[in-house]
């Protein structure tokens, strides 16, 4: 990734992608703080999943450990889809995205800023929902907790990078709410599979999640690079 100064003129300060990314993150955090569109919809959806599934199945402790990995990640994945649509819809409202495109700021800074902003929102959701999952499903981890943290960080980034990219791709389509899951879910299947397997391995203590974590790390590197390189084309496609 290029982190050098962007081109400037008229004596303005040179702007690195890193700085512009941070400016975008800060703006997204401020917008979310004032509107709470993204967090509210994600929290509400996740909460519904936790409560409905716990009443529907009433699993034992062992059963909980086996299904919790899948349940947790599916809840976060679908919550995230709702959030991603909203985070780009915000840029389309009042045509603000055009103002960004007219500016000399590189498209990649917008992409990384959106990814980091969405990553923060989803991690925040996970931090808020994790205790609820533990209470409702009577969960406790047999394996080390740090492994769950690493899986959550890698898995969340894998989903957010792809989600942010495909949400940008589908944002101008008429059925964007439908289009995003159609594009995102098939691409995310390998990552979701790894996340679920690794989480289950840590919770049950059966097997080592290291291979799955390595796979997730590779997935993150490959898709972050590909999305970063292709984002300019997606942003400027009319």
């Amino acid at each position: 990734m290029k982190a050098g100064p962007a081109t400037t003129g008229k004596g303005e300060k040179s702007m690195s992608i890193t700085r512009l990314t941070w400016i975008n993150v800060r703006k997204d955090l401020r917008l979310e703080w004032r509107s709470r569109d993204v967090l509210n919809s994600m929290l509400f959806f996740s909460l519904l999943v936790v409560v409905i599934f716990s009443f529907a199945f009433s699993p034992t402790v062992d059963e909980s450990r086996r299904i919790a990995g899948g349940l947790v990640w599916i809840a976060f994945l679908f919550s995230m889809v709702m959030a991603l649509n909203q985070s780009w819809a915000r840029e389309l409202r009042n045509g603000v995205l055009d103002a960004y495109r007219v500016s000399p700021a590189p498209a990649e800074a917008l992409f990384l800023g959106k990814c980091l902003g969405n990553f923060i929102f989803v991690i925040l959701l996970e931090c808020l929902m994790a205790p609820l999952f533990m209470v409702f499903y009577n969960l406790s981890s047999v394996g080390p907790l740090w492994q769950l943290v690493v899986i959550a960080l890698l898995g969340t980034w894998a989903l957010v990078v792809n989600g942010t990219f495909f949400a940008a791709m589908s944002i101008r389509t008429r059925n964007r709410e439908l289009m995003l899951p159609l594009l995102l879910l098939p691409i995310s299947i390998p990552a979701v599979g790894s996340m679920v397997t690794a989480t289950t391995q840590v919770l049950t203590g059966e097997g080592s999640p290291v291979m799955q974590m390595k796979f997730l790390a590779g997935f993150c590197v490959v898709f972050t690079t590909a999305c970063f390189l292709l984002f300019g084309t997606v942003l400027n496609a009319e």
Binding site: K13, M15, I23, K27, R34, N94, D98, R101, E238
Partner: protein
């Protein structure tokens, strides 16, 4: 000044010059450079305000200024004052009147002092007093040597300010001439 009936392609032409739409044929050079390399020299104001509803005026301008590498608030406050808005106004854009949004949108287009200003209907939804104020501001920019390409149906406001007019119809330039002697 760019004129023409609805759907003639005026806004599309402005978007192409701003680098938002690709031209199907030919190329566009801004002061001799492709649009991509001339973005610092372009100010663009569209039908939509291109502003975040959740931010106040200065916050909006500050965000866009950082994209242009501007760190100081001084030119932003000046731009707001030039369009007749108070930089100290902390109300969010969502609570602005249509006319105030339009003026802030113009401030967003001019804060970095572009050499080419592209304006799409800058007088729509603006009260007569504000429209006259905006027209004066544009006259000042023209006198300072800036180039302004403006789409409007309100020719009267610019009768004594614009140098040239262009008329489009169905995506084609069908007429052009000098404004002197043109009746509003």
């Amino acid at each position: 000044m760019l004129r023409g009936e609805n759907g003639a392609g005026k806004s599309t032409l402005l978007r192409m010059i701003a680098g938002l739409n690709e031209a199907t044929e030919g190329s566009i050079l801004i002061f001799g450079a492709p649009t991509r390399e001339a973005r610092h020299d372009i100010g663009y104001m569209a039908h939509a305000p291109l502003l975040y509803d959740e931010l106040d005026g200065m916050e909006n301008l500050r965000f866009f200024a950082r994209l242009y590498g501007l760190d100081s608030d001084q030119p932003l406050a000046e731009a707001m004052q030039r369009v007749g808005l108070d930089p100290a106004l902390t109300r969010r854009i969502g609570q602005y009147s249509q006319g105030m949004r339009q003026r802030l949108s113009l401030a967003r287009a001019i804060f970095h002092r572009p050499r080419l200003l592209l304006l799409d209907e800058p007088f729509s939804n603006v009260d007569p007093q504000s429209a006259t104020q905006i027209a004066k501001l544009l006259a000042g920019m023209r006198s300072a040597g800036d180039t302004i390409l403006l789409v409007t149906h309100q020719i009267g406001l610019l009768a004594n300010l614009a140098d040239e007019y262009l008329v489009m119809s169905r995506g084609q330039l069908v007429d052009r001439g000098f404004m002197a002697g043109v009746q509003a």
